[in-house]
């Protein structure tokens, strides 16, 4: 059998799979350049929806709110997530570890409506018991950290689990304490994974509509909330234009994240080969 004819199932499956994943996005981007206001009838190339979008203060304001929340969410989630990943991978058993593991992974699959409702109920109870509760940006930030923390921890603990422990042990044998080992050995090695986890948390926060709808107060409408209420009314060419911009930005960020991770992976494998050669 020649290789080409044996390979056709591979290419068919990959072709169909990727067409399914990418065609809807490409169609959406294509129609953002449509002159016609009926978003599905093509009547000529135009950038006018991008122009309208740039004058749409409501969308621009919401975009700024979302970016601010996503930035602080990603930063907080990465700090807490690094700690949680260290606990999961570097610490032995301690009382309550099972609960800790469950609390870390449960938000990965928890339906968003439950998360949104429950965290709002917490804020409302705080409000009626102690008379003050976080509202607006702060409440969205807290809710977003809670669910992105799970994703960040999973990414970081799988990276730390693969990490060669002999480096950390060598440093400790040489007299470095655990804090020093973390900042001088572990942190530089996992830095690319931390960058990737930060980007993941950022995009997850930037994308959330359900949790934010529950906990946001007045004056804290996020971009997905604006997009959602517009999508409920039907197609809107400005949303296509906005989507195109977001897809390009996020793909670029995701590509950078992937590139950082794979460069790190390659370097690690090269180092391991060098170490093996030295040993032999």
């Amino acid at each position: 059998m020649n290789p080409l004819s044996r390979r056709w199932p591979t290419w068919t499956i990959l072709g169909l799979g990727f067409a399914f994943l990418y065609l809807p996005i490409l169609v959406l981007m294509f129609y953002s350049f449509n002159e016609n206001r009926l978003a599905t009838v093509w009547s000529g190339f135009s950038l006018k929806w991008y122009g309208r979008l740039l004058q749409n203060d409501q969308m621009l304001g919401a975009a700024w709110v979302s970016i601010k929340i996503a930035f602080w969410t990603a930063t907080t989630a990465v700090v807490l997530g690094t700690m949680a990943a260290l606990v999961m991978t570097r610490m032995g058993r301690f009382p309550g570890k099972t609960l800790f593991g469950a609390l870390i992974t449960a938000p990965l699959v928890m339906p968003e409506v439950i998360l949104g409702l429950s965290i709002l109920m917490l804020f409302m109870s705080l409000g009626s018991v102690i008379g003050m509760a976080p509202r607006g940006l702060v409440s969205i930030w807290i809710a977003h950290v809670t669910f992105t923390l799970a994703f960040v921890t999973v990414v970081l603990s799988s990276r730390m689990a693969e990490l060669d422990k002999s480096l950390e042990e060598a440093a400790m044998d040489l007299g470095a304490n655990r804090i020093k080992v973390f900042f001088l050995i572990t942190l530089p090695i996992i830095a690319p994974a931390i960058a990737a986890a930060w980007l993941l948390a950022f995009t997850l926060s930037l994308d959330d509509v359900v949790v934010a709808s529950f906990v946001s107060g007045p004056n804290s409408t996020t971009l997905p909330m604006v997009v959602f209420s517009s999508a409920r009314r039907g197609l809107n060419p400005q949303v296509n234009a906005l989507a195109t911009i977001m897809i390009v930005v996020v793909s670029a960020a995701a590509f950078v994240g992937w590139w950082l991770m794979s460069r790190d992976e390659k370097r690690r494998q090269r180092d391991m080969q060098l170490a093996l050669q030295d040993g032999g």
Partner: protein
């Protein structure tokens, strides 16, 4: 080691555990207890709009558990139907995602390593772009005068436009589309670790490819299948955005019921009871998922 560091070290261990632990307990565990409490209260015209469950009046502590919200959920056919239809929609979507995702993961795991990484990046990339926008993209495709109908009409496969948007079919398409990467990822992680020599041995002993697949590859990929199905099915049961934007009024799902009770009827106790029942029904799959996930991390550590 300096005396200062020696003094600090045992405490730093507890600070390390404490900070993320405290965050998750305060903002993830306690909120569920509060929702549980509110689900036993009665709707009231007040702020907050429910009656107290635990009261301390005249030196007497009284606990009033009002079960009417739960009784309502099981006797009102609207809720029961929303339940059944959520489970059905999530189950069928998960099966479809498995049928599409398994061949993809299998084929990618057999590519040369460099091509493998690029293919997996291409699978994950859409899930980094906005979920909401990917759902929105299907509105334009599935409309009666949308792209899919235009193509099918031009190919003379159909004579009249199909009504897909605002039907449960559109919700199935949306769920499979949005959650497919979550199915492929755990399957791929599992399949890529398989030892090819097992398959070669089976072929040497005269097994046909399909026989080798069903008696070696499929059983070995069980953990990946479970993780993938849980990652798709659990969030899909409570999905709100997809049925709301694509499914039309006929696609009844429990996430929408909760949303409407809270935002439209402002009935916090009923919304809380819906959330608690949803959580109880999802508890077993969530625990299964947790165990698979935990074992995965522990396996890599050893």
């Amino acid at each position: 080691m300096s005396a200062w560091a020696k003094k600090l070290l045992p405490h730093s261990r507890w600070a390390l555990i404490g900070a993320p632990y405290l965050w998750l307990i305060v903002f993830f565990a306690i909120p569920f207890l509060i929702v549980l409490k509110i689900s036993f209260s009665k709707l009231a015209i007040a702020m907050p709009p429910y009656t107290p469950v635990l009261e301390y009046v005249d030196n007497a502590l009284s606990l009033k558990l009002n079960l009417s919200n739960y009784i309502g959920l099981f006797t009102d056919s609207q809720y029961v139907q929303a339940w059944l239809s959520s489970v059905k929609i999530a189950g069928i979507s998960t099966l479809l995602a498995l049928l599409i995702g398994y061949p993809m993961a299998y084929v990618i795991a057999r590519l040369p390593p460099a091509a493998r990484n690029i293919a997996m990046m291409l699978v994950i990339l859409p899930s980094w772009t906005s979920f909401l926008i990917r759902v929105y993209a299907w509105i334009g495709i599935l409309k009666p005068n949308g792209l899919l109908n235009d193509v099918l009409l031009a190919l003379h496969l159909i004579d009249t436009p199909l009504q897909i948007s605002n039907t449960p079919t559109a919700a199935y398409i949306g769920i499979v589309y949005c959650y497919l990467p979550f199915m492929v990822l755990p399957l791929y992680t599992n399949l890529v670790k398989h030892d090819n020599r097992l398959l070669e041995a089976a072929y040497d002993l005269g097994a046909k490819p399909w026989r080798a697949f069903f008696s070696i590859t499929l059983p070995l990929s069980k953990a990946g299948i479970i993780a993938g199905c849980m990652l798709v099915m659990i969030p899909a049961v409570g999905e709100f955005v997809i049925p709301e934007l694509l499914g039309g009024p006929d696609t009844l799902m429990i996430g929408r019921v909760l949303w409407n009770e809270f935002f439209n009827n402002r009935d916090w106790p009923t919304a809380s009871a819906v959330a608690i029942v949803m959580l109880l029904l999802l508890l077993v799959p969530i625990l299964i998922f947790n165990r698979v996930q935990q074992r995965e991390i522990e396996e890599r550590l050893t």
